[in-house]
């Protein structure tokens, strides 16, 4: 861990900005989120740094609160998919042939529903809420991670050192914790970091379609929906949420790339 990869550092910096913004809202926002005393669609200026939305709310305040939702959505989705995906994947990798085949088919089908459709279904099943959106995205993430884990586990199990461990009488739980997980962990971490970024995108899409966190939660997706009709007069309201979202996702992607480089030093030289 001596040489930190530049990608990891850059990714952490980008994500840190968004997280700091989200944390700050717990203590301070420029205006009260429900404060509609500003003029409607004011341009950026001294009173309102980024201007106001069409209800007269301060745009910067809304953006900061949106950061909270985006961060919570990515962390929440990883918190669901992080344990669940690898657990199912390891189970499938180790299980008897029929169970493995069955799990593989179910995973393939879950992946045939794109993440967003699956999320829309789960959200429709409950009332639209941030928790429902996160659960939905987390389940979709689990399916992706489980499928990856299954392939990785199979690859490790085919190695000679597993055969050696088996013949020397190591139990399956110890093989999993001692040999399988340490070997597949870097790849899983890379994938989870990517999925965290995609989860933020999925949450924004759900909110944009009106299926995400309901008001008064400020979500970047819904801010875009509200701002799209007035893009000609107040382009900042469209540009800012999208740019922040891109920052968060690029940050997550860079962290993923950084973890990969950290785990596999040959990548650093070849790029």
């Amino acid at each position: 861990m001596r040489v930190r990869s530049p990608a990891l550092a850059a990714g952490c910096a980008l994500v840190a900005v968004i997280v700091a913004m989200a944390l700050l809202t717990f203590f301070w926002t420029p205006y009260d989120p429900a404060d509609t005393t500003g003029g409607r669609l004011e341009p950026p200026g001294a009173g309102h740094l980024l201007g106001t939305d069409r209800l007269g709310r301060d745009l910067l305040t809304q953006l900061m609160l949106g950061a909270r939702v985006a961060v919570v959505a990515s962390l929440g989705a990883v918190a669901v998919g992080g344990p669940l995906g690898p657990a199912v994947g390891v189970l499938a990798g180790l299980a008897a042939r029929w169970l493995d085949d069955a799990l593989a088919v179910v995973l393939d089908i879950l992946l045939a529903f794109p993440t967003l459709l699956l999320a829309m279904l789960v959200v429709a099943a409950k009332q639209t809420s941030l928790a429902a959106a996160i659960t939905a995205i987390g389940l979709a993430v689990s399916a992706v991670v489980a499928r990856l884990t299954r392939v990785l586990v199979k690859r490790v199990l085919a190695q000679d050192y597993i055969t050696a461990a088996r013949t020397s009488g190591t139990s399956w739980p110890r093989i999993v914790t001692g040999h399988v997980l340490p070997n597949i962990w870097p790849t899983l971490a890379v994938n989870l970091a990517l999925q965290a970024g995609l989860a933020a995108l999925a949450e924004a899409s759900l909110s944009y379609l009106g299926l995400g966190a309901p008001p008064p939660n400020a979500s970047w997706g819904r801010m875009l929906k509200e701002a799209e009709a007035t893009v000609l007069t107040s382009p900042v309201a469209v540009l800012a949420p999208g740019a922040l979202l891109a920052m968060l996702v690029i940050g997550a992607n860079l962290i993923a790339q950084g973890i990969r480089e950290q785990a596999d030093p040959t990548l650093r030289r070849s790029r």
């Binding site: 179910v106 393939d108 045939a112 959200v123 009106g210 000609l232 469209v238 996702v249 690029i250």
Partner: protein, 321 residues
């Protein structure tokens, strides 16, 4: 090959069956009694019972599934709870928007991504190579609807070159008008799609360009273009084809979201409306259609891969040993 086909077709059939079960279960998990959605406020319990009987929701689950599966098999998707129009014919009416949008966007992104990805792999260390890499990184990180809004702002509102949304009422009667209406949506979806595709093509091409067999071919006197043409393309194509299927499914999803931005009367806007109105037959019909399409695309991708890569043909499972 025959043994493989038999196994793969069987797998496809099982997938269809499991997918139907998943769909059926998911839709039964949806809250709210469809009968309540159909009836006005303050309906009597008798009226509710009658509507339930009509819908068949008073039967035991297994019988419900049997009749549902029978209907699905005969492509009877039921009627919308809101408009009481047959779902099947509404889907058919909307396909001429969504299918061209998806296919054109897919085609455009392949036409852009394959040369660009290959080119950046050959010229990775130049400034324009890095620029394209950064652009595709950015394209991966932005929501497709955001790109749509920005393109509307630029091309429709500021430059007034293309329509901001909508689709001709008479559909494809005037192909020019229909294509103009689809121009911005197609551009939006393909911009985002090609960003991810470029990365796949790029890494597949890098693998090939770094390979020992290509160096050997060059050492034996083949020109760079000749070696890539003869040995590289087929090897690079295999991993790219395997993601194309997923990409096509993602393109469809992009189309679903983008239809909202451009007010296009396609499957996407129908699906979103279905979710908002809890119109289950509509949701079910579109999801069934898209799931089965994705499964068939996966099947075809696997077949194409075997045609490209003879090593796969030696096994029956389709995975290299």
């Amino acid at each position: 090959m025959i043994a493989y086909l038999r196994r793969r077709v069987l797998l496809l059939a099982v997938s269809f069956l499991v997918a139907s079960c998943v769909l059926f279960l998911l839709l039964r998990l949806l809250p709210g009694d469809p009968a309540n959605a159909l009836l006005p406020m303050g309906a009597t319990p008798e009226q509710v019972a009658e509507v339930r009987h009509e819908l068949g929701t008073d039967l035991p689950p297994l019988e419900q599934f049997a009749s549902w599966a029978r209907k699905m098999a005969t492509l009877d998707l039921g009627r919308s709870l809101i408009s009481s129009l047959p779902v099947g014919s509404e889907i058919a009416a909307r396909l001429p928007v969504t299918v061209p949008l998806t296919l054109l966007a897919f085609l455009l992104s392949v036409l852009v991504a394959v040369p660009v990805g290959f080119f950046t792999a050959c010229r990775g260390r130049t400034w324009y190579g890095s620029l394209i890499g950064a652009a595709s990184q950015f394209g991966l990180a932005v929501p497709v609807f955001w790109v749509g809004i920005l393109l509307i702002d630029l091309f429709a509102l500021r430059l007034r070159l293309l329509p901001a949304g909508g689709f001709p009422v008479d559909g494809w009667a005037h192909p020019g008008a229909a294509l103009t209406a689809l121009a911005l949506p197609v551009l939006t979806v393909s911009l985002v799609m090609s960003a991810s595709l470029i990365r796949y093509v790029h890494s597949a091409a890098l693998d090939v360009l770094d390979s020992d067999y290509l160096r050997t071919a060059r050492a034996l006197g083949a020109s760079f273009a000749g070696a890539v043409w003869r040995h590289g393309l087929r090897n690079a194509a295999a991993p790219v084809v395997s993601v194309l299927g997923i990409e096509l499914a993602t393109t469809f999803l992009g189309a679903v979201v983008v239809e909202g931005v451009f007010a296009l009367p396609g499957l996407g806007s129908m699906l979103v409306r279905g979710f908002a109105q809890h119109d289950y037959p509509v949701i079910q019909g579109i999801l069934a259609l898209s799931t089965f399409t994705v499964l068939v695309i996966g099947f075809l991708t696997d077949l194409v891969q075997r045609l490209i890569d003879p090593r796969l043909r030696r096994t029956t499972t389709g995975t290299p040993a």
